[in-house]
């Protein structure tokens, strides 16, 4: 892949999938600055990994794999901010005022996000993929779990979320 091919491919990916990637990063993090860091990390890995992408899976499956794998093992770089986050865990994730917040300041979504945050990491991943309206097959390709197992898991996650939101 030559340089401009890579750049064009990357721009196409960004154009088509940046919101999905952003939402997954958003679901994994508690604070705004973290979403930015995580999103940039995913973009960096996507850019670096593009050379090795052989097209065995669709570009979206590939991108979601990179996103999910990065989110799962992502660690905050700043120790001080970890402490701050733990102290302020109970506070709402959104700072009202900005236009971005106005878009997402929906009570229903906030409640859902807070419930998702309480799931374990793998269930959180699957819940976020369901919200992206992915099929069982796609989730199976991303996580490596078999489809039947995913069916059972999704059922359980939905019940758990329902309980957490009541």
């Amino acid at each position: 892949m030559n340089k401009s091919d890579k750049e064009n491919r990357f721009l196409t990916i960004l154009e088509n999938h940046k919101d999905q990637v952003y939402r997954i990063c958003w679901g994994f993090t508690k604070e705004k600055s973290d979403v930015e860091d995580l999103y940039q990390e995913v973009m960096l890995k996507t850019w670096k990994g593009l050379d090795g992408f052989e097209g065995r899976s669709s570009i979206s499956t590939w991108l979601y794999r990179v996103t999910v794998n990065t989110c799962l093992l992502w660690k905050k770089k700043n120790k001080h901010s970890i402490e701050l986050n733990e102290k302020h865990q109970h506070k709402p994730e959104f700072i009202s005022g900005s236009q971005e917040d106005l878009l997402i300041q929906n009570e229903k979504i906030l409640k859902l996000k807070s419930a998702i945050q309480r799931l374990n990491k793998m269930d959180k991943t699957i819940a976020l993929l369901i919200l992206e309206e992915m099929s069982y097959e796609e989730i199976s390709k991303i996580t490596g779990l078999n489809i039947n197992h995913i069916g059972v898991k999704i059922h359980r996650i939905k019940q758990q979320l329902k309980k957490l939101m009541q």
Binding site: W26, L73, K153
Partner: protein, 204 residues
């Protein structure tokens, strides 16, 4: 319609902002993101290139001076062995890096790969370190032999031969101790987290 499907449209209203809306930090458009990535990549490449040029200059000057001043075949052989040891170490350290392409495997494969890599990485690094020290010591011993072969004093000879090995072993012991610390403080928590994630994946 099932639970969660109700949230679909609202959920999709959460968007990555660009065109300068909202938070300034998220006002980058796609081209700006790309430019940032290319700039960081170029910085990395520049550093590698500078390192390589400096290495080649150092190697040429070092080897050239040895050749010029000694004109001894034994010293040249010793220097070549030392250079080989350095090249071996560079090769091994590159091999120990986590393969970026594994990031795109399925989560299960990626987690298993990361776990295995983290478990074996420092062991391999230590083993490579010992091999490096051993080769380097042989090279230095050959050089020392050429320099001190005219010395009559036996203790001096023993000292000169033993010195590279003593330095090498002491260095390696301190490296192993610090690697153990890294394993305990950095890698072990990640490994337990990965095990937990794998367990969560398996659970129904």
């Amino acid at each position: 319609m099932t639970f969660l499907d109700d949230f679909g449209s609202d959920w999709k209203n959460i968007k990555h902002q660009d065109s300068g809306i909202g938070n300034e930090k998220f006002s980058l458009d796609n081209h700006q993101v790309l430019d940032k990535l290319i700039a960081s990549e170029k910085r990395g490449q520049k550093l590698v290139r500078t390192g390589m040029v400096m290495g080649i200059i150092g190697l040429t000057i070092g080897l050239g001076s040895v050749l010029y001043f000694s004109q001894s075949l034994q010293i040249i052989i010793g220097a070549i062995i030392c250079i080989f040891a350095i090249c071996y170490m560079i090769y091994q350290s590159r091999k120990l890096k986590i393969d970026i392409n594994y990031q795109e495997k399925s989560t299960i494969d990626f987690l298993k790969y990361s776990k295995e890599k983290l478990q074996t990485r420092l062991k391999l690094a230590n083993r490579s370190g010992w091999i490096y020290v051993f080769i380097l010591c042989i090279g230095m011993t050959i050089i020392n032999h050429a320099i001190f072969e005219s010395t009559d004093s036996t203790p001096m000879l023993v000292f000169q031969f033993a010195l590279p090995f003593v330095i090498g072993v002491v260095t390696m012991i301190s490296v192993i101790i610090s690697n153990k610390k890294i394993q305990r403080k950095q890698y072990d928590p990640i490994i337990s987290e990965i095990e937990e994630l794998l367990q969560e994946l398996k659970s129904q």
